[in-house]
């Protein structure tokens, strides 16, 4: 643990960078995944194709994908955020679509039948009722992105990957742990926070 204590300022900076990468990627990912998820829920036939495509993207090795985006965005945070946002699509779109499909038909029928416009139906009824499952998807995506954001170490975007990969490479366990422990703590904290949100949302929407 001497490594962690002698490098704690560096680790602090890397942890914040790590969090920055994940937050930026999540914001972008959600903005893209929401319309895609709605589309997938509405058009079941296209959804298989869309999810297949996103699944294929998810399976592309991260380093190869990263190299492609370094060519367009250069070194630094940008290519990492793009790659993270792409990986998050698979988890988010699938969950958003599933969440919307799981909304009870009766409540949608009632919403339409009492005179809500399609926009009102979506924002006032469908989205709130889908929110617990959606938050669950967001939780999975966040935890996954915290792990994948270690990629930042590969393109000079910083983050905890720096310590993890260099430590692994030279078999320096303390350095690896100095990167992995904060990353694990971030993941655990994010998981707990989203679980709490999920519970609150479930309590509000259970029929």
């Amino acid at each position: 643990m001497t490594y962690l204590f002698s490098h704690w300022r560096l680790i602090g900076v890397l942890t914040l960078q790590h969090l920055g990468l994940v937050c930026a990627a999540l914001a972008i990912a959600l903005a893209i995944a929401l319309p895609l998820g709605i589309f997938a829920a509405r058009v079941p036939r296209a959804s298989a194709l869309l999810l297949g495509l996103l699944g294929a993207l998810y399976a592309v090795p991260s380093l190869a994908l990263l190299a492609v985006f370094v060519r367009y965005f250069g070194l630094g945070a940008a290519p990492v955020i793009v790659v993270l946002a792409i990986y998050a699509q698979f988890i988010l779109v699938r969950n958003i679509a599933a969440a919307l499909r799981a909304v009870p038909r009766a409540q949608l029928d009632a919403a339409r039948g009492i005179g809500m416009s399609s926009r009102q139906q979506f924002w006032r009824v469908e989205l709130p009722l889908a929110s617990p499952v959606m938050i669950g998807g967001l939780r999975l995506a966040t935890v996954a992105l915290i792990a994948i954001a270690t990629l930042g170490g590969y393109v000079g975007a910083g983050g905890l990957g720096n310590e993890i990969f260099f430590g692994l490479q030279r078999r320096y366990l303390e350095q690896t742990l100095a990167g992995s422990i904060p990353a694990a703590l971030l993941a655990i904290a994010a998981d707990a926070a989203f679980r709490a949100l999920e519970r609150a949302a479930t309590r509000r929407t259970a029929g």
């Binding site: 009632a110 919403a111 009492i114 005179g115 416009s117 009722l129 929407t205």
Partner: protein, 252 residues
């Protein structure tokens, strides 16, 4: 009027034409799949007729903007469809809010409606739908449907999912409420007993066609077809048996 669902091989509603007197309680009666729900749903444009028209108070509903039409038309379904994330009061207030009533008016109306459907506002106002029994949920469903004083109230097997005792009391409440509101009610059921209890007029449907539209008395006295005669005859036996059993149960 003719209605057909996309990709269906026959018309769900076929050549139906009748006029419902304002303020009456009409029951659409028939077996499941006979087109009665489809017919009901043409009234608030949830289903568009393939040909023909539905007019309310002389106005073709096709000329009214669907959301405006639906806000002015009460709608109650068997599955109730109360919004799980809203309280009882919020559920009842949905249509008044869509119509931009002011807060005070909405709050007053909500309490008034809860009392009308037999629920104590103090106790029920802030509850969530999952905290209510099936019968209580449907009372709130009715309150939500009539919140904005609709001219027409559409009810699609509203009491189909509640137990027999709760159904009986809901039916009684319904008659009382309708008498107060003077609303035109269109009520779908496949239960002959229920139709006879509630209806001013009954429309019997079969295979998308209207067989007879008449008062219950006329229908029992002069059934338009052997089908109707049989429908009510079978039911008469059931009624006789039930009243006998009730009498026995009531005996000391």
């Amino acid at each position: 009027m003719v209605a057909r669902y996309p990709r269906a091989d026959r018309n769900a509603v076929d050549g139906v034409s009748f006029a419902i007197p304002a303020g009456s309680f009409s029951v659409l009666l028939g077996p499941s799949g006979c087109g009665k729900s489809t017919l009901l749903r043409t009234v608030n444009r949830l289903v568009a007729p393939a040909s023909g028209a539905v007019t309310v108070g002389g106005q073709d509903v096709a000329s009214i903007e669907p959301t405006a039409l639906r806000r002015a038309t009460g709608y109650v379904i068997q599955a109730v469809g109360l919004f799980a994330h809203m309280t009882v009061a919020q559920n009842i207030a949905v249509v008044p809010e869509l119509l931009h009533w002011d807060r005070g008016r909405i709050a007053g109306r909500t309490d008034e409606l809860l009392e009308l459907v037999g629920l104590d506002p103090e106790r029920y106002r802030s509850r969530f739908p999952r905290e209510l029994s099936g019968g209580e949920q449907q009372r709130v469903g009715v309150a939500r449907a009539i919140a904005a004083e609709p001219q027409v109230l559409l009810m699609d097997e509203p009491f189909g999912a509640v137990d027999a005792i709760a159904r009986r009391s809901l039916q009684d409440e319904m008659l009382r409420i309708v008498r107060i509101l003077q609303t035109t009610v269109l009520f779908v059921t496949h239960d002959v007993e229920e139709a006879l209890r509630l209806a001013d007029r009954i429309a019997v449907m079969r295979d998308g066609k209207l067989v007879q539209y008449a008062t219950p008395e006329e229908m029992l006295r002069a059934p338009a077809s052997p089908y109707i005669a049989q429908l009510f005859a079978v039911n008469a036996d059931v009624r006789r048996y039930e009243s006998l059993r009730n009498a026995l149960a009531a005996a000391p």
